[in-house]
Symmetry: D2
Subunit: 261 residues, 4 copies
């Protein structure tokens, strides 16, 4: 009944939408069984290249969801922590919601270049010192309206809460794979009374969502194609592409495998 | 107490914020008395030219407020009715909130050109037929997620409600100067049950608002300078500029008078 | 796709949910075809009498939806226009959302008695003068935070907008059966800039909604049984009950027909 | 500028509103300096006794704020953790927002009695086993729509997150006085993707708020007088009352000292 509670992502149990594409056998097979597929099928316009299209249904909806959860006011100051493919889409999403200044935290040159093209105004390299100090110092000591977490271990939450102003929002789209807890810093969370909302959620799906994101691409609001740094052809290259994601060479953001005719 | 009810614009009575700048004597004098001025003073960065700066405090905050009231989802379809200076800022505001397709209703060539530069994807000329028919026909018979009214007589509300989908929003930033009523179309408002919200409000002011809009300009999200088609210098040209707004030559969007040193 | 746009009531076209129970043949037959019935079936606890139960699925969800649309702050001042069965549930709904003072507009003694029992603090009789004057005068000249329309012709909207304060909300759950337009008063709607939201929508359905309303009754928050003034038994009395709703005797609020064993 | 960011509680720095009444010298003196007092002064109706009145400005606004932050749907299931005076007002606040079932966690007999009178349907004693197991077991294995934390050490957050359903809200009005972190349970927070919002904030003040809460009492929606178990007279008894709050006898909820003429 999660669909009637406003969170269809969790219909059939918490994270059921995510489990569907991660645990169900055959997701990389030639054919895959999808129930109620019509709820998620949208027509792809000819002008959108296939590599861009596959970015829409995962990276884009996830990164943009970070921006949606983050309650960004027009002209607001935003921090995006992590500029892998999802973080880059969160930067683009923050721009798309009208952010003013956007601090993006990351270090890989290719990702930094794309982050700037998506609207990041300040790049913060965590190797050059504590990111909280770097950002607050550049921002006149003020916290940000919105902080989006798109990477890191559970400890990153401590920095995120410190970076938000009273009344601001921390939005998480990061998957935390290990650890028992995710810590909030007691003092900077105002001993419980700072009005810093902590949110986090699985990306939305569905046909209406897909059609809207397709329009974002079709009308040139955001080009997700910049995420695609490597394109392979044919089923046989699937493994090579997956290994690339594991090895993470310097020029990689996201590989795509096209199963041609 | 309107400030504690969340609508400081109406503090001291409905529309008091607007009356302040329209009814209080001396608004065009060399010096003008402003109470609690500190609540509205923001530092203007050197890189923003003065003509752009004056667009921020009126056209931009008003047009953007239309986009804020309109509940635009990322990738949503938006209609902006009227592309005078406020309507143009509503187009820019809709783009800034992540709209996908944007229908802009207007006809003056200079305004059409700027509307496209701010993100309008379809220009609808009301001289070429009913705007409701033109837009619904182009949009596959579907209503828009959001409709922003930035011009027209009270009758325009009928078209606006017809253009919104069930669950969509009509946002008004137009000043209706005459007539007893503003009509909603009974049938298309679902006999009262269509979930089409009708909203309308005076633009927000204040220092925080000003600083955020300044960031929108400073970080090159939107350039309000395109609205300024005529620049005058010196107090003596005030009347000439005002007459221009009355005469509306074809190449006018907004005149500015600079009171130089 | 309305379900994915957040308004399942309009899935299959505007007001489709309403049309289902009004236009589809056989709604009063012994058996009636319902598609996807499982989405709407909820278990009724033994302790809730059947006449109360049928109030839940129509009067209660509709009246409460008025309170939901009306954005009532805790302790806020609310006006409910119309105290037929839906309006009475709107009074109960306003109390349930934490309203302070509640003005209820009506005149029939039985309805007035039940309105008071549901939380109305002031009864306004429209036969004793203009309701706007009566209410504003009693409320120190201030408009209400929320106005719920649960009865009247389209002209009632004029009074409702006059009764709302700047920043307040008018929520409509009334069905307007005739007329071309529903008028907003131009001046009191702030010439378009008063921040008085005008909303209106078909009641929500679904199993989750039903289960929540059942809990409202089960845990003695609201007793909808007070609406049921006449109970009939057997299919043969259906017509008699319907005629009662047409004739509206003084002691009628709502009749129920039980189709026993 | 926090007032323009929507959180006047933090105007002058995070928690400045709270610091005002805790750190500023003289808060227990015969006279106390309050700046901009007019923003917070409201007229007290004669019919509200003074002991109830002082509950309004602290316990009630805080407890009710928990209910406001908690996004309670009409008929929703709510858990309130802690039933000291603030928690009891959170129970009353949850009832006031239309909750269906309310689980209240506590053990002191006097508090349990008052919790039931304010609308708690199930009392959970933490001395009788893990509260998460007790509540989920009674609630058919389902999490609650809303969880309000009104007591406990930082570890209580782990139980609260476990108790919320996907899409639900945890609202904190508890002051955490020690510890470095407040832990979220990684797995039950959906590895970051459960859509369980974590919120927490200092109570709102201001005249409009005060007037609304006064109406809640005046119109008999909630009687905060039940919190007042001990009444003292005269300045000299201040210390005795404070010691009572430290010693917490079994029959204490809240003491009040009246400084009579």
């Amino acid at each position: 009944m999660a669909v009637q509670q406003g969170v269809p992502q969790h219909s059939g149990g918490m994270l059921a939408g995510w489990k569907f594409s991660n645990f169900k056998d055959g997701v990389f097979a030639e054919y895959f069984h999808v129930n109620d597929a019509d709820m998620n099928l949208a027509k792809l316009p000819d002008e959108i290249p296939l590599p861009s299209a596959v970015m829409i249904s995962d990276m884009m909806t996830t990164g943009f969801h970070g921006a949606e959860l983050a309650n960004i006011p027009i002209g607001g100051t935003v921090v995006v922590i992590g500029i892998g493919p999802v973080g880059l889409m969160a930067v683009a999403g923050a721009t798309l919601r009208g952010a003013g200044r956007i601090f993006a935290v990351g270090s890989r040159p290719k990702c930094v270049e794309v982050a700037k093209s998506y609207g990041a105004t300040d790049i913060i390299n965590y190797r050059k010192g504590d990111i909280v100090e770097q950002i607050l110092s550049r921002n006149g000591g003020q916290g940000a309206d919105s902080v989006i977490i798109a990477g890191g271990s559970p400890q990153i939450m401590i920095s995120a809460v410190k970076l938000a102003r009273p009344g601001g929002t921390v939005a998480n789209i990061n998957y935390y794979g290990s650890g028992d807890i995710i810590p909030l810093p007691r003092t900077e969370w105002g001993c419980g009374m700072a009005h810093k909302d902590i949110r986090g959620g699985l990306c939305p799906g569905g046909r209406v969502r897909a059609e809207r994101l397709i329009d974002v691409v079709k009308y040139h609001r955001v080009d997700p194609g910049r995420l695609v740094t490597h394109v392979f052809h044919g089923f046989d290259n699937m493994e090579k592409a997956l290994m690339l994601m594991k090895d993470k060479p310097a020029d990689l953001i996201k590989p795509v495998v096209l199963i041609d005719g």
